[in-house]
């Protein structure tokens, strides 16, 4: 840079005008072929990410919608247009309602394991204890770096109802653990626990960071007034950290149902009698086990609609609490 331009910059910074910036130095306006579009050369920065997202997310989503109107088995050259028949098939199948019920149970249990528990734990570690914070953060976050298949296999053995270590220790005190992989609802609880083992730590450190950043004065004042711990949590920390809380809640709903796919596949394969299947696993099952491409596609479209609905609901709830507080 020529030293004279420093003076120019000072002047420009106080009164920022684009022509002044251009006057700061001789800029040969090189126009390249790729700059000749509405975004200018900027398109080159967005294109790499954009190409991948369009090719492997946006276009496939549209294509899935298209496939949901056809009867097809993914290999046959013959695709038959059937209109809304696949949706009728899905919505009149009692298995769909069982799977929807399971999906609701998954969402409730995942919210308890991956939002409520890390929220309380983050509160405890931030405000109620003053040692081991570093160790607790490291230990809780570590499983997030371990393969879900590894987690599912280890827990399959740890919780084996006859030969596993947990069953053998409990047998000493006369407790028999149920055959959870063959018991409805219980299998969902175990699968959610294994998922929480991997995911909880991420939510915990996110909430911990948010709570550590809260104003110490407010907390200190409340403490001097002798407010009990549970009210400190409910009335002060919870509302003050609700932005991060909302982020954790939304991500849990969106990613949770997908994360549980791996433990379902490894531990129960959707059984007993569809008892651990959810919308995600069922769509996989229809597509790659029984080869009903159109049915799987229509299930996926319904899943996407449900996700959008849940997100809208979550954001609406946030907007309502904001209004209620102002």
């Amino acid at each position: 840079m020529p030293s004279s331009s420093d003076v120019e910059v000072g002047a420009v910074a106080s009164a920022p005008r684009v022509p002044a910036a251009a006057a700061a130095g001789p800029t040969p306006a090189k126009v390249r072929w790729w700059a000749n579009n509405p975004f200018g050369g900027k398109v080159l920065y967005l294109a790499p990410a954009g190409v991948f997202l369009v090719l492997f997310v946006l276009w496939p989503a549209v294509y899935t919608l298209f496939l949901s109107f056809f009867d097809w088995n993914m290999v046959s050259p013959k695709m038959t247009f059937v209109g809304f028949d696949n949706y009728v098939t899905v919505l009149s199948d009692p298995i769909t309602y069982k799977v929807l019920g399971n999906t609701a149970i998954y969402i409730v249990v995942l919210l308890a394991f991956n939002v409520v528990v890390p929220y309380i734990l983050a509160f405890v570690v931030t405000f109620l204890i003053d040692r081991f914070q570093g160790f607790l953060k490291s230990a809780m976050f570590l499983p997030s770096f371990i393969s879900m298949v590894v987690g599912a296999i280890i827990y399959n053995w740890l919780l084996n109802p006859t030969a596993g270590p947990v069953a053998q220790v409990l047998a000493v005190v006369g407790i028999q653990i149920p055959n959870w992989s063959q018991t409805e609802v219980l299998c969902i609880l175990v699968i959610c626990y294994v998922t929480a083992w991997k995911v909880l730590g991420y939510n915990f450190i996110t909430l911990f960071a948010s709570m550590s950043g809260l104003s110490k004065d407010v907390i200190e004042n409340a403490r001097l007034e002798g407010i009990p711990t549970w009210r400190m949590f409910r009335d002060i920390v919870l509302p003050m950290s609700r932005g991060t809380g909302m982020y954790v809640l939304v991500m849990t709903i969106v990613t949770g149902l997908q994360y549980v796919y791996t433990p379902i596949k490894v531990m129960t394969q959707g059984g007993p009698n569809y008892g651990s299947s959810n919308l995600i696993y069922q769509a996989y099952h229809e597509a790659f086990v029984v080869y009903r491409t159109g049915v799987s596609a229509s299930l996926s479209v319904l899943t996407l609609i449900l996700f959008i609905g849940l997100l809208a609901l979550a954001f609406r709830a946030l907007a309502l609490t904001e209004r209620g507080r102002s």
Binding site: G41, A49, L67, V124, I146, V149
Partner: protein
């Protein structure tokens, strides 16, 4: 910070430490069991401390599986995916943070919205596409779809927003080219977050199961999480100690990366969360 009397604090400390031990236990259990002879494992499942330790499970594993090949597959996929994702995310985040252009917010919204699309919505078309271009049972077919992930853009935008904008603005007024601003100013400043994001991408790709399990069919092209499935049966199975050895091999690199870089990693993830 300690709000309440020492006695309450002590009991909370104990509760938190117990939860942490429960969280670490499966990892220690797998590690210990992988070094125990199989007959001991079945004779006493509760004690997992390997005295004396044996390498027989690892030897069996090496005999049953082309381990170097499987590790090479897993590593090539994870490394390529990581580099491509970092490159695409960095460039896109730079444009979203520092350029003004028509429809910027709309495009940003569409990019980030892809994070919320469940994988079942894209799996059939992607499967058909990968098969049609002849990449079925090929690690390239696994790499391509994994690069399509906007979470890196979110993390890099968060990192770039922490850089004081006046710094970039004065460089722009000084007529420094975008390329130089990007490579000589922004890149060094976001290097910690870039490193952490890269490790996160690498580990996630290393652990990825769903998509590889649809694409990779032959043992030749297996990754570690897929190979792990070979040693599993419904009841835990007679190969249980070998399965623990594969588990240890699978988690070794991610855990070492985490323990080495945890300061960066925890800092980056807590920085990106909406406050």
């Amino acid at each position: 910070m300690n709000l309440y009397p020492a006695k309450a604090s002590r009991s909370w400390t104990v509760v938190a430490l117990i939860i942490a031990v429960i969280w670490l236990f499966p990892i220690l259990f797998a590690l210990g069991t992988s070094f125990r002879p199989l007959q001991d494992v079945f004779a006493n499942v509760v004690n997992f401390i390997p005295i004396p330790p044996t390498l027989e499970n690892y030897a069996k594993l090496a005999g049953r599986l082309d381990l170097p090949r499987v590790i090479a597959n897993t590593f090539s996929i994870a490394a390529t995916v990581t580099l491509l994702k970092l490159l695409t995310a960095f460039l896109a985040a730079y444009a979203f943070t520092y350029f003004e252009f028509r429809g910027r917010n709309k495009i940003y919204f569409v990019f980030l919205a892809t994070i919320f699309v469940p994988f079942t919505v894209t799996m059939i078309p992607n499967y058909l596409l990968i098969a049609r271009i002849g990449l079925g049972d090929n690690i390239l077919g696994v790499i391509l779809t994994q690069v399509a992930d906007a979470s890196g853009i979110l993390l890099m935008v968060a990192a770039m927003r922490e850089i004081p904008y006046s710094l970039i603005e004065s460089a722009k007024l000084d007529d420094v080219s975008d390329r130089r601003i990007m490579l000589d100013m922004v890149l060094p400043l976001v290097r910690p977050q870039l490193t952490a994001t890269g490790i996160w991408f690498f580990v996630n790709s290393w652990n990825e199961f769903v998509w590889p399990s649809l694409i990779l069919r032959s043992e030749q092209s297996y990754t570690l999480p897929l190979a792990l499935q070979m040693f599993v049966s419904a009841e835990g199975g007679t190969d249980f100690a070998v399965a623990m050895a594969v588990s240890v091999v699978t988690m070794l690199i991610p855990v070492v990366l985490y323990l080495t870089f945890q300061k960066y990693i925890i800092g980056t993830f807590t920085g990106a969360g909406i406050k």
